[in-house]
């Protein structure tokens, strides 16, 4: 197995209870795993389950460890490595504030249109753009805004899901 550093997008279905997120975050910090992005929200209110999407990186052996360590947490119902289990869609949303006037302002609006960013707030001297897309698209947009008065960025982190009809169901053997 290679020692090359790979990026993995891992979905975790976890019981929505106090401290559950702390267990996941604590695991990453205690064992020195990278967190590039981590998002969490309740997805199945009736079953009390939250879904955590974590983007991490490491050698294949480390990625395997991360999955096994996550699966070992008692409140975790299932762990799926989206990068390894076929095509998937990963998206994030960003709010980007640009403060500018004149040509820069016009140029900013033109680029926003090309990226299909929505203007969600505007004043005479500023815009807030809402942009959804793959993380690379958000990166590219932010880079283009930089010389045009980029003032502040707020990003949600990645949410991801498998393409096609398959879903990831609770796996009993995941302990």
């Amino acid at each position: 197995m290679s020692n090359e550093i790979q990026t993995a997008v891992i979905s975790v279905l976890i019981e929505n209870e106090a401290g559950a997120l702390g267990r996941v975050v604590g695991l990453f910090s205690a064992r020195g795993y990278n967190v590039e992005s981590l998002t969490v929200a309740v997805v199945e209110r009736e079953d009390g389950l939250s879904r955590i999407t974590v983007v991490t990186s490491g050698t294949p052996m480390v990625i395997e460890q991360i999955k096994a360590q996550l699966a070992r947490l008692i409140p975790v119902h299932s762990v799926t490595d989206l990068t390894a289990s076929g095509p998937y869609v990963a998206r994030e949303m960003a709010l980007i504030k640009v403060v500018s006037t004149g040509d820069a302002r016009t140029e900013g609006m033109r680029i926003a249109e090309a990226f299909r960013a929505r203007i969600v707030d505007t004043t005479a001297g500023s815009f807030v753009f809402e942009l959804t897309g793959a993380p690379e698209k958000v990166d590219a947009f932010v880079d283009l805004m930089r010389p045009l008065g980029l003032a502040e960025v707020s990003r949600t982190g990645v949410a991801a899901i498998m393409r096609g009809p398959q879903t990831f169901k609770s796996k009993q053997e995941s302990y």
Binding site: M1, E15, A18, G19, G22, R23, G26, A30, M61, E64, Q65, A68, Q69, A71, R72, I74, P75, H77, Q172, E173, Y175
Partner: protein
Amino acid sequence: MDASGQPGENGTMVLNGAEVLLRVLVEQGVEVVFGYPGGAVLPIYDALFKQNAIRHILVRHEQAAVHAAEAYARSTGRPGVVLVTSGPGATNAVTGLVDALMDSIPVVCLSGQVPTALIGNDAFQEADTVGITRPATKHNYLVKKPEHIAPIVREAFEVAMRGRPGPVLIDLPKDVVVSPAPLPAPGEGRLHRVYAPRVDADEEAIRRTIAAMKQAKRPLFYTGGGVINSGPEASEGLRELARRTGFPVTSTLMGLGAFPTTDRQFLGMLGMHGSYEANLATHGCDLLIALGSRFDDRVTGRVSGFSPHSFKVHADIDPSQINKIVRVDVALQGDVGRTIERLLSAWDGEGQDLTRWWAQIDAWRALDSFGFEQDMAPDAIIRPQHAIRRLYEATQALGRETYVSTEVGQHQMWAAQHFHFDKPNRWLTSGGLGTMGYGLPAAVGAQIAHPDALVIDVAGEASTLMNIQELGTIAQYRLPVKLFILNNRYMGMVRQWQELLHGSRYSQSYSEALPDFVRLAEAFHGTGMRATRVGELDSVIERMLAHDGLVVADICVAQDENCFPMIPSGAPHNEMLLGPDAEANAAKVTAEGMALV
């Protein structure tokens, strides 16, 4: 249970949370709780007072309560239970919890907490116990409602015992334990799904293991604490498997006793202070079958040089241990006892001829790497290895059921090398965390569990002072524990590393201002003895074993003795230091090795 509960409005008994807690403990088969009272757990202590089903052992420090519970668990196969108060009670327990986590010991720790309304207010004796113990436990709970007490306590025992065992903490706010609480039938009111880790390994993995076993010319079983955790049947199975295959067996520190350490097929412990034959067999084998062991760094040495030519099979119930440190060829995820059973039924006795392998092993064994020379002149200085050998021989002659605990350091390694165990669950030591001060409270736990057995803490003078207050517990319950101190007036293992790796600069490792251990024993209502010369050793051991009460034996041993063999930090198994003559070789330790612990 007597006298608990209050009559309710319609004549039925209404229990409070503390009473429900104790009833569930009884239902779980709990007979003994190790603990220390305090404000937040007063209602639980009040409920304990009103019943007779559970015996409470009052320790002198909460860390000791956990170590005692660990030894109780390790020596009986049943979970150990701890009861501590909020704040400092819980934080003092943390070292014990991490110790149990590292060595996979099932412990349920009940901690008091300030009332729910005060949580987060920096109340008196408040600590964020679930936050602090989250990485110190297999799982933990904060009970927020009285109706959750019964289901959470039941679940906690499942989590502690099933799969890879470990410590579980339940934090109980004071208002929750004083409120009326329901006691649903077992299985009712469950808050989470059933915790049921996979116990049966994959059939294909069993088949591939058997195929590898048939082809192996230089096979080796490398067994660990998991075999002991799996229960006595697993140890029986291992013996049968070794007998039928003829394969040699080596063990980790935690696994000693699962296979008889006096058996010819046993090569001794492997790893940093393991035997020459065990380490060279690990290095030279063509099939390594790890059974309930986890490739700890004390076992592997330099990972890149670990068992470089072997096909590797790893049986473990915890999938996160597989491929964590060493990449293996076959993973047998499941209970190691059941895995051994299935290997046994699949093995048809058709292996390779192992004559040459055994001849090689016997040639290594002939080096007698644990050997030492004791000057037997009566006034000669006692070598620590000799003291342990004589202790072992004396206990053998006595023939009593014997449990041995240790502290951490040189004496622990010498005990592992020179004391022998033919049964599992008799050897109680802190392996993963390496907790100095483990041994004396562990002896308390073992003696409480086995009141008629001989329980000996083989100790160092520095380690044992870390929990010496437990002599008070021993006195209170009249426990006939034997504290056998190998007193070299140094933190011996620290001194050894300073000698070998830091130019003999003995920075802070001398045990200055030691107490007089004989008078210390007497101060705690026990008997003290001392041996300073070889001629005194046997009579001290004999009198210690004959005495039906606490004995502290201060065995004054050679101060400069080093623990060999030794694999220096960062070296592979085939670069062992065999003895003092090889000390010059320690200069070979690489810069990388110097940075390792």
